[in-house]
Each structure stands twice: as C-alpha cells, then as structure tokens.
C-alpha cells in the first residue's frame, strides 16, 4: 500500500504517523508540502535516512521545484506526474491526510 503525505513534517505529524503504520517496504510518496521532508534539513534528515532504510520514498518534482527545494536527500526518488500516476496504478493508496 502506498502512503501519501502532503503536509510539512515541521508543522504536522502526518509523516510521523504514517511511518508508525506503514509496514516495512511500503512506499511513501511526498507531495505538496510533504516534500519539505525530502530535503537536507537538520530537523528531519536523520529521521528520513532511517525511513529510507525501511521504505522507498518518492517526492514529486513539481512540488519540489515550485518551493525552491533543490537539496534533496540522497536515496529519495524524485518523480514527475507520470511517475505519480504509475505509483497509484501499482498500489492501493492510504492517503495520510
């Protein structure tokens, strides 16, 4: 199941909560303000590296670029809208709103 996150990890627990439930190996997709979890930021980077050890993590390029986020953590796969659609075709979705 694909867990999707669209809120910043700095203001909400959406990502933290999803990670409590998502079984090891479940893909995580960051979009809209969720992409703030995808960048090199001291407050999140260590937690995201732990996450990457257990889950494939994707971030939507349009949302990264729109926000001026260029320093994406190594291991996160940046995808475009077609990639988004492919993921949704491949998995049932748990939208963690």
């Amino acid at each position: 199941m694909l867990y999707t996150i669209n809120k910043s990890p700095f203001t909400t627990n959406h990502l933290e909560s999803a990670l409590r439930f998502a079984p090891s190996g479940a893909p995580i997709l960051l979009y809209e303000d969720g992409v703030y979890a995808a960048v090199e930021a001291p407050m999140m980077a260590a937690a995201m590296r732990d996450t990457l050890a257990d889950h494939p993590v994707y971030a939507l390029d349009a949302d990264l670029e729109a926000r001026g986020l260029t320093r994406v953590l190594e291991g996160i796969e940046v995808i475009d809208y077609d990639g988004f659609v492919e993921l949704v075709e491949q998995h049932d979705v748990a939208p963690w709103l």
């Binding site: 909560s17 079984p23 979705v93 748990a94 963690w96």
Partner: protein
C-alpha cells in the same frame, strides 16, 4: 455486503470539520451497503470519548452518533492501541465497543480493504 472500504479518522472532533465530514461519509457509504471498517488513530480516538457536551459550543453531537451507525450496518470499529494509551484512554472510555488494535493490525485492515478514505 459489496465492496470493502476503510475510513481512517485521525483528527480531534471539534477543532475542525473532519470528524463531522467523516461521519457523514460513513453514513453515505453505508447506504450503499458497502462493507465498512472505521479506524480511529492519533487524535481521531478523541471522537469516541464518552461524556462529550457539544451543546456547550452550540454544536451537534459527534461522538454520540457513532453507536447509532450500527443501525446502518456499520459495526466494525477499530481503535489504535498506542493512540489510546498515549492519551491516557482505554476502551472503557469510548462510546462504542471498538476493537483495540496494534499499528501492524491497522496497516493490515487498510491493506485488506484496499480503498481508504481519510478524515
């Protein structure tokens, strides 16, 4: 029973419209006789606590609505164990006889239903 759907409730009841909208959605989905599982996690567990007095805010009852969902064929209520415990709550504090489940069991319920509606 037809298709399965899971509703996941993660928000506290009175500070936003999510709980009320989630409840309305459950009612709407129930009309179509779908097989519904309702999961309460994070602040969503607060939607089920007893002794809510929404009249104090001139608001409609939220928690009290959940037990009556049984009349609409909705009786699969699940509550996340850690979310309850972290908030100093237990199953006895809730308005419905919900099954207390682990994080892994929540994931399994979502997986088994395939369709997940978040509130």
């Amino acid at each position: 029973m037809g298709d399965k759907v899971a509703i996941i409730m993660r928000k506290a009841p009175y500070g936003s419209v999510y709980t009320a909208e989630g409840f309305r959605t459950i009612m709407g989905v129930a009309v179509f006789e779908l097989d519904i599982s309702v999961v309460f996690a994070d602040d969503g567990v607060y939607a089920l606590v007893k002794d809510q007095r929404p009249d104090k805010l001139d608001m409609k009852p939220l928690g009290d609505g959940f037990p009556m969902l049984e009349d609409f064929g909705v009786s699969k209520f699940y509550v996340h164990d850690k979310s309850l415990a972290e908030r100093g709550l237990s199953a006895d504090d809730l308005v419905v006889p919900a099954q207390v489940v682990s994080s892994a069991e929540v994931a399994e319920i979502l997986e088994a239903n395939g369709k997940v509606l978040p509130f």
